[in-house]
Point group: D2
Chain length 306, copies 4
């Protein structure tokens, strides 16, 4: 069955009662103050149709969803062997910001979607771009077709004020020779990427290339090769939802990437990209109502990669 | 493109030079003596076609591939909440036989495909079946349509003689209250399951239900619900290849389950089941040439879940 | 100042208010039912004087204190290089029954006073003695001069009924080749050693050789060399109080060994042996009031190795 | 037996053949270039006698031995409860610069002698002193009676250039709220303390107070209380030799503190302080010949705390 406005409306109504059972991220004040009852969804099909419901056009902090964008840029800039000797492709089995495995594995992070891995990717972008923040913004504006996307400076600065754990991660990698630049400037760029403010509509359109073999629908712009598109989806499927990737695959059955701002993007390869947003998180740090909405959508439209 | 005999022949020729670069499992003598140059592949489509190449009809020890069969039986016997409170659904991020995470997580294994998880499943089958070994054999013979499938007693006994690590795992779970029966009888059943002798043809046919929404092709027998079939595939995709699940998803892009006997089964949901065999393993314990063959097949026929 | 009956009486009065603030060991029923208000102390000097207060002649389960006796026997039976290649001499920094470090360090326990280490020692005694239980009992009766010391069979059997964790430890070491005999018979001996029933008076006299350069006071019997006596004291000082060895050294300043039955023995080398008993434990598993009594005694009589 | 010049000469001759079997610290160039055949020892008795042999008056980098001095200052400045809520008193059971335990234990280091613990102590001194480097130098000059003691700036700067691992440790503690100041200025002070250049004679005299109940011999200056002196010795006995504290207690039987510059100080409470120096280290990071010299001295003069 094709997704319709009606299906999306129904699903949001069904998951809305979950609001109140999760917990809005509160490690920085700028995130803690987001109203917990926001709820939106956008489906963007490979033939360019955009179907939405709820607060689909309201912007929020995409947080770790940006890690998929940074990875895409790094895959454009670096040869596979350069990239994958510095970061792995395996699920970590540990919390997203843990240092334990990182120390035992000599400073090579398990995958690009845990903090350590995304920070290595940020370091690699920093080495190649003269103005990494500017380049990422340009990239996102192009992908989304929305020139108004900006960084939320309050969020970025707030992250920087609470950066000790990530600084610890970066210095540990540096001590193992897996970090090339000064720590603080790289972290600043990393936090800006996390502080991108985007709506479900922006996100669904931005990640269209992952559902369309690397070509952006509508604009037909080449972003990555079909192989790279498949690889990014594979990495999201095994590592994209923190320590809840297995559960997400089991329930939703789509490659996805979540952020602690409550957003999730999910891909139905060959067909569509979906973005949901609900700020309250489950214990793994993924949007509670958002995950449930994706599970229901997967069932209703009969789409799953499995 | 459809898989053909010619494509399979070509692929085996291409991967054959890898033989000599891996390492046959040698932790028990019965496995160490398997000739390292065996190489076979079988593709079984949902419309009942079987395409093969190389040693596709020669039997080998399926080892951990049996974990997907035991899980299927447990999902038939138990309610989801009964099953999933005793074993998780997340990648472990650690070696398949590690006790570290098991101790930190209070005796609940990460997933049913690491040893600890499969041993819990064996314990659950033991609690419900009066003759678990007999029932599993019956189940496999039915699925494969091959009445001649048997346990390799030499392998099973050899595993039992080298069972200390698995006994340690079982007793640790027992100390946490997550193991109900006597340890040794359960392990005996567990080792017998691992000692099933099957060919690529047997395996491809056996797992047909996972490519066909829970219904066995040809016989049309109901094995599991479409939802359960999807769930098993999801678990294989995130956890089915030991500590190489991410790499396998990245390269092959199919749910799969491997065994240290050198076999791998892989699923293209809605289309086909593939079984490969080459005894030499890579450092993660997955068949070296077998993985490469699946990667090439995925490319040639343009099939991947991503 | 010399220890006197008056000093001991005063100290027991001072520490008695701590009763109610700790927790009697309850992992087996036979220990959980010991009255929590028992309190006793015995000081045995190298010139054969025995000074006591409180319940000093009441027997209790010595539990892990027996590990120092088993180690003494193993040091008599084996060459140092044989013994110390199978068990280390370093503090573990982890819980007494953890498997994590044991797995990471290839089945060689950190020291003879954590469970894994004591089980290796039990395995070594089992290999050399035809009737290890009998020999240990003989040894203790000789050291204490008390022919009435016996094993508490209820405790020993109760431990055996709750032996899963220790069985897991033993099998893990066996999988690394650091365990030579059948697991269950060795554990049975290990649990019997822990189930020795002795009073403070028995214990103080038994361990007299550690304060007297290896020679039992009064009987002048040779037990170990002066060097071995010094070595056992050193091991107790760094590893004898579970994960509270540092705190014990800081507060009490004597080599010691504790048991979850609430007993502690402490050594003032060259002068005296002290045994205390109070069943309630602190969070590290050491007698709460017992430790405090030893701290006060150390201050009053001005004895500490530091 | 009393230590004599002859005994010290004999011991150095006996241990000299070990030179060539260890490894000079090479993580910074300034340490790697120290001649490996230096060998010195100094014994300083409580009645003010100084007995020496070999290169006892040649200065070297004291490195982690400084941690005992910084701890002494912190114990003077802070109440025990203030100090010990920020750093523990237990052996770590892990490498001196590991982050694993530190993360699991919420940023509270195991003891003041592993890097993390010493960095917390440095943070505490930084909070109280306006010029911590100056104050420490003043303190050491007073204790040693040697006005010429200085920091080796080349070593200090070289440490700062290789500070990533320690920065990672500091930021991790900061993320847990156990670090109050800016990371880099504190590390700078920490590295200067490690870069103190002192001879065996300087060290033996400096630590005289730990053998003399807190009073400096000869000058009779009060440094710490008898209780504090005992406590520092206890901490050195259980935690002072990295991951070799148990072995050191077993072989030498004295509280001690080592540094990767090859120096070790050891205390015979009530009698004397000993300092040895030989730059080659054993695998635990302690001076190979230095430890052996202390073991021989302990045997010859019949001194051990056990």
């Amino acid at each position: 069955m094709k997704p319709t406005k009606q299906i999306l409306d129904d699903i949001l109504n069904e998951v809305r009662p979950l609001i109140g059972q999760g917990k809005v991220a509160d490690y920085i004040p700028a995130l803690a103050c987001v109203p917990n009852d926001k709820l939106g969804i956008a489906v963007y099909t490979n033939d360019g149709e955009m179907i939405t419901s709820g607060d689909a056009d309201e912007r929020f902090s995409i947080q770790s969803i940006s890690k998929a964008l940074s990875l895409t840029l790094a895959m454009e800039l670096y040869q596979p062997e350069e990239l994958w000797q510095r970061v792995g492709k395996e699920p970590s089995g540990q919390a997203f910001n843990s240092l334990i495995q990182l120390e035992m594995e000599q400073g090579v992070p398990r995958n690009p979607f845990i903090n350590a891995g995304a920070i290595v990717v940020a370091d690699m972008l920093f080495s190649r771009f003269s103005a990494p923040k500017h380049r990422l913004l340009e990239f996102v504006r192009k992908l989304s077709g929305n020139e108004h996307i900006i960084y939320d400076r309050v969020v970025a600065n707030s992250e920087m004020d609470h950066s000790d754990r990530n600084a610890s991660i970066a210095y540990l990698m540096r001590s193992f020779g897996n970090f090339d630049n000064e720590v603080m400037p790289v972290l600043k760029n990393y936090f800006h990427a996390c502080a991108l403010n985007m709506s479900c509509i922006d996100l669904a359109r931005t990640f269209g290339y992952l559902a369309n073999k690397g070509i952006q629908p509508e604009t037909n712009e080449f972003i990555v090769t079909p192989m790279q598109s498949k690889q990014i989806n594979a990495l999201m499927a095994t590592c994209g939802l923190y320590d809840g990737a297995g559960e997400f695959a089991y329930r939703v059955g789509m490659p996805g990437k979540s952020g602690v701002g409550g957003g999730i993007i999910a891909i139905v390869p060959g067909e569509m990209t979906i973005a949901v947003w609900s700020p309250e998180l489950d214990p793994s740090g993924n949007s509670l109502a958002g995950t449930q909405a994706l599970e229901l959508l997967s069932e209703r439209i009969g789409r799953s990669i499995f």
